[in-house]
Subunit: 220 residues, 2 copies
DNA sequence: GCAAAAGTGTTCTTTGTACACCCATGG
DNA sequence: CCATGGGTGTACAAAGAACACTTTTGC
C-alpha cells in the first residue's frame, strides 16, 4: 500500500484565508505532497513537501488525519500555518506554478484533497478557540489590531476589541516589543511579538482550554 | 512503506481502566493490529483487527494518530471503547491468549505500542470533558451512579453527584428507561440509556464543548 | 478640526463549584 | 432501625459578553 503525505498550508492575507497550491505543467492543482521516503519520517516529509513545492523553509506542521484512498493508498494529511508576507513562494523543481488561493474559491484539486483542505480548515478554526494560532500567521512584530483581524477571519465573526486585548494580554501569549508603528492615519499602535508560551497558562492552573465540539472529530 | 493499523481498546471494569491485549503463542503482548488490505479501508481494518484478535464485533473506533516507525512502517492508531461485560473476549485464529490489563500495569508490548496506548489514554481523557464517552463503556441500561463512577475513573478524581446528575441530564445525553434496579442495599436506582445525540446541544446553541488543552496535541 | 484607529474599565449574565438533607430499600 | 446508595435545590465564585469614551495621529 502506497503512503503519501499531503500538507494544507494556510495563510491570511488582506483579510482572506488562503491555501497554498502548486501545479505541474498542465496538470491539476495540488497540495504540497510527497512520499515519506527519505530521512526523518512523516513529519520531515511534510516539511520537505512544502519546501520542494514552494521553496518555503522552516515551517511548523501538525498532523491532521490519515485518509484512505480507495484502499490503494493512504494519505497522511498535515496542517501548516505561515505568514505569506515573510515567506515568498517560488516554484520548485518540476513545479510549473505555485499560488495562494482564497479558501472559498479553490480550483479543481487532485482526488481526495478537497477533504484534506476542509478538515484542515475545521481543525484550524477549532484550534483558534484555545491556541494562539494567529501568531503563526503574523510577522515577527504585529499590532493587536492585526492579530484581532486574523482571528476574525478565522472565526468568521467580529470580536470586541476590548475583550480581545484583555484576553490576549492576560493569557500571556504576546509581549510588548516597546516599538510603535504608525500605519497611516490613526493613532500609532504598539507592536507585540509572540511570547512563545501556549494558552491555558493562567495563574490558577485550573483553567482549561476550549475547543469547538467538532474540533477533533474525524472528517466526513 | 508498510502500513499497519493498531487499535487501543479500552474498557472500565470494577473501577479500573483496562486495555485489551493479545499474544501469539510465546510472543510479545500486542494491541489488536492488522494490515489495511482488504475491503473497506483503514476504519474497516481497525474493526477487523479487534474482531480477529478477540472476537468482538460491532465496536466503534476513532482514528488517533499516525506514527512512523523508523522510517520503514507507518502505524495508523485507533481508539476503541467498549463495555467488557457485553463483549466477552475469545482468542481468534493464531492468537494464544487475549486479556484485559489494567492500564497502569501493562506487560512489555511490541515496539511503538506503548506510545499508542499513552496517546489513546490522553485522547480518551480529553474527550471525557466534552463528549459522552462513558456511554460507550457502559451496558445498554445503566444508572447515573455507574456512569459517574466511569467518569471518575477516567478523570482520576471524584465528582459531585448532584452536579453530575444535573449536567448529564441537562446535556440530554441520556434518557430515562422507566425501569429501576435494586443493586443490593440502598435505594434502587433509575436506569438510563444513551439518548444517542452528542454533547453541546443545549437550547441556545451557543454552548461550546470543552477539551483539555493537550487533548489534540500530537503525542510525544 | 475631523476622520480613523488605539487604548482603557465596568456591569451583567452565564457557568461552574461547593454544599446538606430526605428517600427508598436490604439486612 | 440502621446502613447504604439514590435523589433533590440553593448560594457563591469565576468567566464570558456587552458596552462608551478618551487619546493620538494623518489629512
Amino acid at each position: 500500500m502506497r503512503v503519501r503525505v499531503e500538507v494544507a498550508v494556510f495563510t491570511v492575507r488582506r483579510g482572506v484565508l488562503e491555501v497554498l497550491l502548486g501545479r505541474r505543467g498542465g496538470g491539476t492543482w495540488s497540495l504540497a505532497a510527497t512520499g515519506p521516503d527519505g530521512a526523518g519520517g512523516l513529519d520531515a516529509a511534510a516539511t520537505r513537501a512544502v519546501e520542494d513545492m514552494a521553496g518555503i523553509r522552516s515551517i511548523t506542521t501538525e498532523q491532521l488525519y490519515t485518509f484512505d484512498r480507495a484502499g490503494e493508498e493512504v494519505a497522511v494529511a498535515y496542517l501548516a500555518l505561515i505568514d505569506a508576507g515573510r515567506h515568498p513562494i517560488s516554484p520548485g523543481q518540476d513545479v510549473a506554478e505555485v499560488r495562494w488561493f482564497a479558501h472559498d474559491d479553490l480550483p479543481s484539486l487532485e482526488e481526495g484533497q478537497p477533504a484534506v483542505v476542509a478538515y484542515g480548515l475545521q481543525r484550524l478554526r477549532a484550534k483558534t478557540s484555545y491556541a494562539p494560532v494567529a501568531v503563526n500567521l503574523l510577522p515577527d512584530l504585529f499590532t493587536l489590531g492585526e492579530m484581532q483581524a486574523v482571528y476574525e477571519v478565522l472565526l468568521g465573526r467580529g470580536l470586541d476589541a476590548r475583550n480581545f486585548r484583555r484576553d490576549v494580554l492576560r493569557a500571556g501569549v504576546v509581549e510588548e516589543s516597546g516599538e510603535v508603528r504608525a500605519e497611516g492615519r490613526g493613532r500609532p499602535a504598539r507592536l507585540y511579538r509572540s511570547a512563545g508560551g501556549h494558552f491555558a497558562v493562567d495563574a490558577r492552573e485550573r483553567r482549561v482550554a476550549r475547543a469547538i465540539s467538532s474540533g477533533d472529530d474525524p472528517p466526513a
